[in-house]
């Protein structure tokens, strides 16, 4: 009974992407005639294994292109892995780029129902949480206006509010906290703290190292699709800052780029 229960098990997952250089028959022929490659494959994730227990708040950190968003997509089920396996317990809600489910032509009210259903809520559940969602989003009289007239802040607030109200067992968050006004941002972070303290599982991708330090207990540092560090969040955040500095220095001083480049 004391054995921790697994929320997410990622086992030796490899994901490769194919970059197609030519789509049309004309371009394909031209490239073939010139002896150029038609497609390149690159490995976004290379035998990644991560196990997350129920109640953990884990940050996935790394530079751009390190594979953290791909890993999040694989956990959410949007993409299947090429090799290895993923298993998740319970309802997952992805905040993978919030607002994907918001339709510009529908009103805020209609979007609450539609997006709620997309994230797995039924009608009763949405009705029960409706007031709370609207209050949290703080969109007031715009509720019955089409979402296309919303300011980007309002849009984000509504999307975030719906997502946090789905009460998922595993909450996946990708870069959502980067936007929005400071006040709402603080509200979101408070909400995520509450959420974490209620014993649910969270996987976060964000660029803000300080925020991750506050929010997460564990950090997984990815580089070139491999796990470089899996342990306390402070080490992972420090690694991120260090790598970022290295990259910035390499960009400022291109001659040194050879060793630091990826």
């Amino acid at each position: 009974m004391d054995e921790p229960r697994r929320a997410v098990v990622v086992d030796a997952v490899t994901k490769r992407f194919t970059l197609r250089h030519a789509r049309s028959i004309k371009n394909m022929t031209l490239r073939t005639l010139h002896g150029k490659r038609l497609r390149d494959r690159f490995t976004a994730l290379d035998a990644v294994s991560v196990t997350i227990d129920v109640g953990e708040a884990v940050a996935l950190v790394g530079l751009n292109g390190s594979g953290k968003s791909t890993l999040l997509k694989i956990i959410s089920g949007v993409m299947p892995p090429d090799e290895g396996s993923v298993r998740v317990r319970g309802r997952i809600a992805g905040l993978i780029e919030v607002g994907a489910g918001l339709h510009p032509d529908l009103t805020g009210r209609e979007n609450v129902f539609l997006n709620g259903a997309i994230l797995g809520m039924d009608r009763e559940e949405t009705l029960r949480k409706f007031d709370s969602i609207v209050e949290f989003a703080d969109i007031g009289r715009f509720l019955d206006q089409p979402v296309r007239f919303y300011s980007s802040g309002m849009f984000m607030r509504l999307a975030f509010s719906i997502a946090v109200h789905t009460d998922p067992d595993v909450f996946l968050i990708d870069e959502v906290l980067a936007v929005g006004d400071p006040l709402f941002r603080r509200k979101c972070i408070e909400r995520l703290h509450e959420y974490r303290d209620s014993g649910r599982t969270m996987v976060v991708v964000a660029h803000d190292a300080n925020l991750l330090r506050q929010l997460c207990t564990r950090g997984v540092f990815l580089e070139d699709g491999r796990v470089r560090w899996d342990g306390d969040i402070d080490t992972a955040a420090d690694m991120l800052l260090k790598k970022r500095q290295e990259r910035r220095r390499a960009e400022a001083n291109p001659s040194g780029a050879v060793e630091a480049g990826r």
Partner: protein, 292 residues
């Protein structure tokens, strides 16, 4: 920590692979979401238009007018076929339904790219929603056909209603079966929509809509007639004509022998095609997120 396990451990779901779609059965399970998506499609389509859903009356009416004057009046089909307007219109609503289904399902997945890329949903939802939108658009046409038929003395009979249901089931199954395949292919090759466009052109003219099937029988060689009658859409159209037009006439224009039997065979094949479509779709959908 006890309170924590109290909230999270109230239900104990098993570890499961995410995104392992259950296909069409999963769509049935999430019919509440399906209903909202259908409503969204309808809403989005008529956003900012004055007539709104009224356009679903205007379009078939315009179609009807064009075909009626060109075929019925100028080409004198009205003289050959009794109650030509209803002969043509009963065929037209079914053909429009099929074409609309095929075109809209083909665009269904690509049109929902942001969702497909970011949230896991059974992707079959989108083509199925397109089919249901076409069904909504079929209703006004059917109402007009029935109205005109009743005015010409049509009364409901088991044979008529059975024919209509069989014709609809055949064409709808065929539409969603092909639609699943086309919508998945369209993600990888944007040529699909162009090809589908051309297919719908052939469909419009290869069914006995503005001419009776007997014209093919009397002018084309036997094998061509067999081919013509093997087209499931021809069968569907003939069934609709038998349902709505034939009871209003004196019944001199014959239907092919074994029409019902052939239609049932075609329906069984359409169900097989739907199974194949589901199989192809579920294989290809694994790569949707990275292609879009």
């Amino acid at each position: 920590m006890t309170s924590v396990s109290g909230t999270a451990g109230a239900h104990e779901p098993e570890l499961a692979e995410p995104g392992r779609g259950g296909g069409l059965t999963e769509v049935v399970r999430r019919r509440y979401l399906l209903r909202l998506i259908v409503r969204r499609e309808l809403r989005a389509r008529y956003q900012g238009s004055l007539l709104g859903l009224g356009w679903s009356y205007v379009r078939p009416a315009a179609h009807f007018a064009v075909f009626f004057f060109v075929a019925g009046v100028f080409l004198r089909m009205s003289e050959q076929i009794e109650h030509f307007p209803i002969f043509m219109f009963s065929a037209l609503v079914l053909v429009s339904f099929f074409n609309e289904t095929l075109i809209n399902t083909t665009h269904a997945v690509v049109g929902n790219a942001p969702l497909v890329r970011k949230v896991y949903l059974p992707r079959e939802l989108f083509p199925v929603a397109s089919l249901l939108v076409s069904c909504v658009h079929l209703v006004p046409g059917l109402v007009i056909v029935m109205g005109v038929a009743v005015a010409w003395g049509w009364t409901p009979s088991a044979a008529a209603i059975g024919s209509a249901l069989l014709g609809f089931a055949l064409v709808a199954t065929l539409g969603i079966g092909l639609g699943l395949i086309c919508s998945a292919l369209h993600v990888f090759y944007r040529d699909t929509a162009k090809a589908v466009d051309i297919v719908t052109l052939f469909v419009t003219w290869s069914v006995p809509m503005i001419y009776p099937w007997t014209m093919v029988r009397d002018t084309a060689p036997g094998w061509a007639l067999d081919l013509y009658l093997a087209n499931p859409l021809t069968l569907g159209v003939l069934l609709f004509e038998r349902a709505f037009w034939w009871p209003t006439t004196d019944g001199t224009l014959p239907f092919p022998a074994h029409l019902t039997r052939d239609a049932f065979i075609a329906f069984a094949l359409a169900v097989l095609l739907l199974g194949a479509g589901q199989f192809v779709f579920s294989r290809l959908q694994r790569r949707f997120a990275e292609e879009l």
